[in-house]
């Protein structure tokens, strides 16, 4: 067991714990932050596997953009919080399906690749990756750029308000708990009117004027 294996086990445990927390957390924001931890851990796994460029891409795209996008998505949709509201009734079925699949797949993997080891792992350098992108994979690369453009336009069209009126949300999205916020219009204006000449704190300013 080399040092690389030890590092991989540590990063892998962090990643797995983050993934489990992502799908079991009762709090939506905690789930999104656990997802960010998981994605960062996967970037660490890429580093251990000597894929430096992919690790950086993972950090920039996933941890930087997608996790923030998910946080925005959670904050813009006011969803109820709690295990009963977040999880459906078929949690046992989900556990059975995923656990059975894990057992089958891991058995197959151990049987097929259980004895494959490399002593010194090498990854391709950034020059090899660049030449491969623009020599071999040019057409998929350009297609991916077109796909991203189409997704950008599609997302804007989908998320836009229907007929362009400003600011009015639908009636059903209102939150119905509590009272309307208290109107505190008498606090700050009195303060402003009181200290026309001095920036002292409120107590000492009032004493000086009295």
């Amino acid at each position: 067991m080399t040092g690389l294996d030890v590092v991989f086990v540590l990063v892998g445990l962090l990643t797995a714990a983050g993934a489990v927390l992502t799908v079991t957390s009762k709090n939506l924001v905690h789930a999104a932050l656990a997802l960010a931890v998981t994605l960062a851990g996967i970037a660490g796994v890429f580093l251990v596997l000597h894929a430096d460029f992919l690790a950086l891409v993972q950090l920039v795209v996933y941890v930087g953009a997608v996790a923030v996008l998910f946080l925005f998505g959670l904050m813009l949709t006011r969803a109820p919080i709690g295990r009963e509201a977040l999880d459906s009734q078929n949690r046992g079925l989900a556990l059975a399906v995923s656990g059975g699949l894990f057992v089958v797949l891991s058995t197959l993997i151990v049987l097929a690749f259980g004895d494959v080891r490399v002593d010194a792992m090498t990854g391709p350098g950034i020059d090899v990756i660049g030449i491969a992108i623009f020599a071999v994979w040019v057409l998929p690369f350009e297609l991916l750029s077109m796909l991203l453009l189409a997704a950008l336009i599609g997302a804007i069209v989908l998320a836009r308000r229907e007929d362009g009126e400003s600011g009015e949300e639908a009636e059903v999205t209102r939150i119905e708990v509590g009272d309307p916020p208290i109107n505190e219009s008498d606090g700050p204006p009195a303060e402003v009117a009181g200290d026309g000449q001095a920036e002292l704190p409120a107590g000492s300013g009032g004493g000086g004027q009295a």
């Binding site: 797995a16 799908v23 894929a51 797949l105 080891r117 090498t122 992108i133 189409a150 804007i156």
Partner: protein, 103 residues
């Protein structure tokens, strides 16, 4: 370094993603589980590339992983737009309540 560690981690992440897709009701959390599964596949691709085919000319595994990252970014954008639209029209992000196209 052995190949089996990354493969087992990827399998675990994939199964956790499946659990999340089936067990969660919030549409945003379902999208997050889909992201977990896509990342598990990326780990597999990179591990096979760098362990089994280290000196390949066209670095196919890394290229597929890069393309998956790009497509996943597009998928998150469109998916969240659809979720926002659903929330605006029906005031819910619960995937059990969206059964208009159910057979």
């Amino acid at each position: 370094m052995s190949l089996i560690g990354p493969l087992l981690l990827a399998t675990f992440l994939f199964c956790v993603g499946i659990y999340g897709i089936i067990a969660r009701r919030n549409a945003v959390l379902v999208l997050m589980s889909v992201e977990l599964m896509l990342n598990a596949v990326n780990i597999n691709l990179v591990a096979f590339q760098n362990v089994l085919f280290p000196g390949e000319e066209a670095v196919s595994g890394l290229m597929f992983a890069l393309f998956i990252i790009g497509v996943a970014a597009a998928e998150v954008g469109v998916g969240l737009a659809i979720v926002f639209n659903m929330f605006r029209n029906r005031a819910t992000v619960n995937v059990d309540d969206v059964d208009l196209m159910r057979w």
